[in-house]
Structures are given as structure tokens and as C-alpha cells.
């Protein structure tokens, strides 16, 4: 990564740019990769959501007016490829796609996720149409709701850290941040679907089965979360080894 940055700076110096800190210029016919370089802190974050730009002049609060004036003088960073102004954009789903991606092949990862969502929706809608009138309201057909709920059900509440005390390492229960919990849930889901499946089942098939199972709090991923909780509970005695 540092080699790339150094090359980036070298290229820009050759083309006579102002400072090594200033980036983000597009010469006609050439586009530099700038997003993963270090931006000068002067640059502001882009705003991809459409609603912000639709607010008429009169309804802006003083902070929003100030922000708009600031944006008209300061340069803005380039937006990443994964951020869209589409109404169907979902940051949690994007994160899941990135975690599933191998060798930078986002197309395949995104394809697997869309097939998974379609598969889940098909199973649920089929069940819905075959169910008697009374049971129809209980069946959840929205694949996005199922995905979010399943992920919630897989998130551990408490985690374990390996802390050294007196020459030995103890597994100490520690609180987890939100990001860490989300990461663990996604990681467990993906590893479970990659490892414990039949050679012939496709990834999207296995993923949809696991997500539907996690939605109803069954399945291997939820089991793994419960085992982590049990380990933490059994190691309660070492909790005072934590100093933060």
C-alpha cells in the first residue's frame, strides 16, 4: 500500500502538481486512482443522499446553510464505488458483500448476495401463498428484513480476549463494540457457509438456508454465538483481569 502511495506522489510530482499533499486532479484522458491515497484534511466528505439536495432554500437550518457555504469553497473527496445515491443502497449489505469478496471480485460477491436474497424471497413467498389465511401474517417475506434480523440474532453480546497474567494466558470476557459485534456475526456466517456445506450445494443456497435458520434462532451460527456466551459465563472469575 505504501509503495502505491509513493508511486502516486511520484506521478503527480512529475506532472507538476502543487504539493505532495494535494490530490484528486483529473487530467484530460487520464484518471488517477486517488481514493486510497491520503487526502489532505482540507478535503470534505461527499454527500451521496438525494434528499439533502432537495430541501428548498427557505427550509434550511443555520447549520445546514453554513455547511453548504463551506462546501462551495472547500474541495471534496471522490466518492467510493460502493456508495450510491440509489434508494436501494444498504450500508450493512455493502459491508457483507465486501467481506464475502475474494480477490477484489465484487461482481461475483454481489451476484451471490442477490441470488441469496432472491432465493430467500422465493421460499418465503411460496410458503405465504400456500399458507391458510390465518397464518399469512406471520410469514416474513422481505429478504432485507430477514437478513437484518438474522444478523442481529447472530451478534454476540460479550466476547473473549486472551490476556497474559503471570506467564499464562487466560480467556477473559470483555465487552465488544458495535462494529466488532457486526463483524463477528458476518464473519461467522460466511465461514460457516464456506466450510460446512456439501460439495455440490452452491453458496447462495447454503447462505439462504443459514439466514432463514438464524432468523428463527436455529442453525449453526446462532449455536456458535451461544457457545461463546457460555465460555464467557464460565470464565466469569477472570473478569477482573481486564483493566479497561
Amino acid at each position: 500500500m505504501f509503495i502505491k502511495q509513493a508511486e502516486q506522489l511520484k506521478l503527480e510530482k512529475q506532472h507538476g502538481q502543487v504539493d505532495s499533499g494535494h490530490q484528486g486532479v483529473i487530467r484530460p484522458g487520464r484518471v488517477f486512482l486517488v481514493r486510497w491515497s491520503r487526502y489532505n484534511p482540507y478535503y470534505l466528505e461527499p454527500e451521496p443522499r438525494k434528499e439533502v439536495y432537495h430541501i428548498p432554500e427557505t427550509e434550511l437550518t443555520p447549520e445546514q446553510k453554513e455547511e453548504r457555504e463551506l462546501k462551495s469553497v472547500r474541495p471534496i473527496k471522490a466518492a467510493t464505488n460502493s456508495v450510491t445515491s440509489s434508494v436501494f443502497n444498504d450500508p450493512v449489505l455493502s459491508k457483507f458483500v465486501n467481506m464475502m469478496m475474494k480477490d477484489g471480485d465484487k461482481i461475483i460477491a454481489k451476484g451471490i448476495i442477490t441470488q441469496t436474497l432472491e432465493n430467500m424471497k422465493r421460499k418465503q413467498v411460496e410458503k405465504y401463498h400456500k399458507a391458510p389465511e390465518g397464518k399469512k401474517a406471520e410469514i416474513e417475506c422481505n429478504p432485507y428484513a430477514i437478513f437484518h434480523q438474522a444478523l442481529e440474532n447472530c451478534k454476540p453480546v460479550i466476547g473473549l480476549a486472551s490476556i497474559q497474567k503471570g506467564g499464562k494466558f487466560y480467556q477473559v470476557p470483555i465487552p465488544l463494540t458495535d462494529n466488532r459485534r457486526r463483524f463477528l456475526a458476518m464473519k461467522w456466517m460466511i465461514t460457516e457457509c464456506r466450510d460446512n456445506k456439501h460439495r455440490r450445494t452452491l453458496m447462495y443456497e447454503k447462505l439462504s438456508q443459514e439466514l432463514l435458520a438464524a432468523f428463527s434462532k436455529e442453525g449453526n451460527v446462532v449455536k456458535r454465538k451461544h457457545e461463546l456466551h457460555k465460555m464467557a459465563e464460565s470464565n466469569r472469575a477472570y473478569a477482573h483481569y481486564r483493566w479497561w
Partner: protein
């Protein structure tokens, strides 16, 4: 698979007129339900695979009434069946609904009591063939037993009631000890083709010949509809190879040879409805959709003269209807897909192309 029959309710995108013969311009853009009893007999093998999945999910088979299908049906109603057969060709960009229009027309022919000869995809006969036997009837031709027997089985499901009525006009000899006599019902021939897989391609040829001879007849006459999907596969190249690795031309396959004779307009008493298809085609660029490009010179000369029927993308009214149908079947689940913003985005992303819209709505 049990398809449900629903009580009649009024809705703007559905019509209660389930008989294709009675549908007219006022039903354009509306969905009609194919009755569950007809479904497996009329369409054992014609529908696109994604549509079959949709039928299974929604528990009902609904087809949109569109302009190309209505045009075809009106031509079929007014044609003169004592003259040589008219050939109709459906063409359009990828995913615009050619196969579905063909299936709608096949349903019409079926309800009118015609004998339907539906070849689901001619490209399946010119590629991916595991067994290629040299033909016993003609030395330089090749037989495809698996494809022929599959097709005969589906043909038998579609046209059960005709099989006992049509009698053969010629004696067919299969081997030294086996032959089918004159005057036997067609059903016997078809059963023989299904059970004896080795001679099934020749049986297909015999069936096609008999139907061609008897279609326009005055005594016990029936109308014959030949529906071919992906007709551009019959001319052009194949991916099959002989044992010495030289390529097989389509004329050298018995099935293709007999089907080409069927598409010629030298018989009367029926119609030939064909669809072009780039999706399964071999050695054709993906942007090609016009008849001249896909059929090639040879194919165009054989099909000429034909009635071209263009199939376009969804109009605004048809898009609305499709959107409301998906909403009704609980297929559009994303909270934003039910808003105006989401709808505008769907129009932009799919460009109103029916198959692209279907794939888009699948994960929304």
C-alpha cells in the same frame, strides 16, 4: 404442483377473460390466468425457465396480453387454410417477450382444438448432444436419440386426444422384424418412438410427414400449428463434431432436416409460428436481433416470404400493469420499491425491458 383458483375480484391489471380467443384490444396490458387444468397439458416444455420458477412461487400462471400476441391471434383467425401455410416470425431485442408471446399463441391454438407441434428451442438440437448415432435410414445423416425421445414424450402429453384419431397412411418398416402398418393410430407410432430410443429420430420424421399430409384434409381435418422457438438455430453452424473431429452441418441431422421440411410452405391447413432467439444461438453476436442478422442468408431465403411480428419493450401501461401484479403477489418487498422514487429508479435501471425488470424485482 397444485395451482390455486381464486375467487373473482376486480383489479386493474387482471382480466377475467381467460380464453385467448375472446381477448381483444381492451385487454391490452392486463394479465389473464392460464387455467390450472390446462397448464401441464399445454405447456409441458415451452415456457422460459425463469417463468416456470415464477409460476411455482406465485402458485398461479398469469400471462400478460400484449400487442404482438393479439396481432398473431387475429391473423390466425382470419387466415385462409386452403392456401399454403403462412409463416409468422416474432423478432425483437433480448428479453422483450418473444417466447411468452409464442406461448400465448400456442395456448390459443390449443383452446381452439388445433394440433400443436411445439419445439421449445431448436438450438437444443444443434448443440450439447452427447450421443450422435449414424442414421439407419440415410447413410450420411446423424440421429439424436435422447432429444428425439424427450420431444416425443412431451408431444404425447400435449396432444393426447389426437393420437387415437389420426391414422397412418403409409407402412413404416423399422427393422427386419418390426414395422407399423397402414391405418394404425398415430399414438402407437409415438409410443414406439418413446420406448425404442434408437429409432426415435426416424419416428419424429415419420410423425411430421404424416401430420403434414393430413393437416388440410377434408375428412377428419384438423389444423396444425408448428411453433418453433429459436428457429435461427436450424440454419447456421452447429457445435457438434463427427468422430473424425470435422464439424457437423445442420442438414446432416435428421431432426433438423425433417423440421426444415415442416417449415417450408408446401403444405396447407395450418400455420408456422417461429421466434428468433439470440440467447441460445451459436456464433451470433449478442447485439443481433433482426431476422436478416440471425437467420443468415440461407435461413432468410428459406423463411421468405414470412409475416414479421416485432415484439417491443413494455409500454408505460404495460410497465404499470407488471408493477401492480408484482405488488399484488407480494413480490416487491423492499420498502423503497413501493414508493414513487423506487419505481422511477426501476424504470431507469431496466429501461422497461421485461426480463431485466423481472431479474431486478427478484432481489428487491
Amino acid at each position: 404442483m397444485e395451482l390455486e383458483t381464486r375467487p373473482e375480484t376486480f383489479s386493474i391489471f387482471r382480466t377475467q377473460e381467460n380464453d385467448p380467443a375472446c381477448q381483444s384490444e381492451q385487454h391490452l396490458g392486463q394479465y389473464y390466468t392460464v387455467p390450472p387444468s390446462h397448464f401441464h397439458t399445454v405447456f409441458p416444455h415451452g415456457l422460459p425457465p425463469r417463468y416456470q420458477q415464477q409460476v411455482k412461487t406465485f402458485n398461479e400462471g398469469c400471462v400478460m396480453v400484449r400487442q404482438p400476441a393479439l396481432e398473431l391471434i387475429s391473423h390466425l383467425k382470419r387466415a385462409d387454410y386452403s392456401k399454403p401455410t403462412l409463416r409468422y416470425l416474432l423478432y425483437g431485442v433480448k428479453g422483450s417477450g418473444k417466447t411468452m408471446s409464442l406461448c400465448h399463441t400456442v395456448h390459443y391454438c390449443s383452446t381452439q382444438g388445433w394440433l400443436v407441434l411445439h419445439i421449445p428451442d431448436a438450438h437444443l438440437w444443434v448443440k450439447n448432444c452427447k450421443e450422435l448415432l449414424p442414421s439407419s435410414y440415410h447413410a450420411s445423416r446423424f440421429d439424436q436419440p435422447i432429444q428425439a425421445s424427450n420431444w416425443l414424450r412431451n408431444f404425447r402429453t400435449t396432444n393426447e386426444h389426437f393420437l387415437s384419431k389420426i391414422k397412418l397412411r403409409q407402412r413404416y418398416v423399422w427393422t427386419k422384424r418390426e414395422s407399423t402398418e397402414e391405418g394404425r393410430p398415430l399414438g402407437e407410432l409415438v409410443d414406439m418412438g418413446v420406448s425404442r430410443v434408437k429409432s426415435s429420430s426416424d419416428v419424429v420424421g415419420a410423425v411430421l410427414k404424416e401430420l403434414r399430409l393430413q393437416a388440410g384434409g377434408t375428412e377428419g381435418g384438423f389444423r396444425l400449428a408448428v411453433a418453433v422457438d429459436g428457429v435461427n438455430g436450424l440454419w447456421g453452424r452447429t457445435t457438434l463434431k463427427k468422430e473424425d473431429k470435422s464439424p457437423v452441418a445442420p442438414e446432416e441431422l435428421t431432426l433438423v432436416h425433417n423440421l426444415r421440411k415442416m417449415i417450408n410452405n408446401d403444405w396447407c391447413g395450418g400455420a408456422v409460428i417461429a421466434t428468433l432467439s439470440q440467447t441460445g444461438s451459436l456464433y451470433a453476436p449478442s447485439s443481433a436481433y433482426l431476422p436478416q442478422e440471425l437467420l443468415g442468408e440461407e435461413g432468410f431465403d428459406s423463411m421468405d416470404p414470412f409475416v414479421p411480428v416485432p415484439v417491443s419493450l413494455y409500454s408505460e401501461k404495460e410497465f404499470e400493469s407488471c408493477y401492480l401484479y408484482y405488488l399484488d403477489r407480494h413480490w416487491l418487498q423492499h420498502s423503497h420499491s413501493q414508493t414513487e422514487e423506487g419505481k422511477k429508479e426501476m424504470i431507469f435501471l431496466s429501461n422497461r425491458n421485461p426480463s431485466v425488470l423481472e431479474r431486478l424485482c427478484a432481489f428487491l
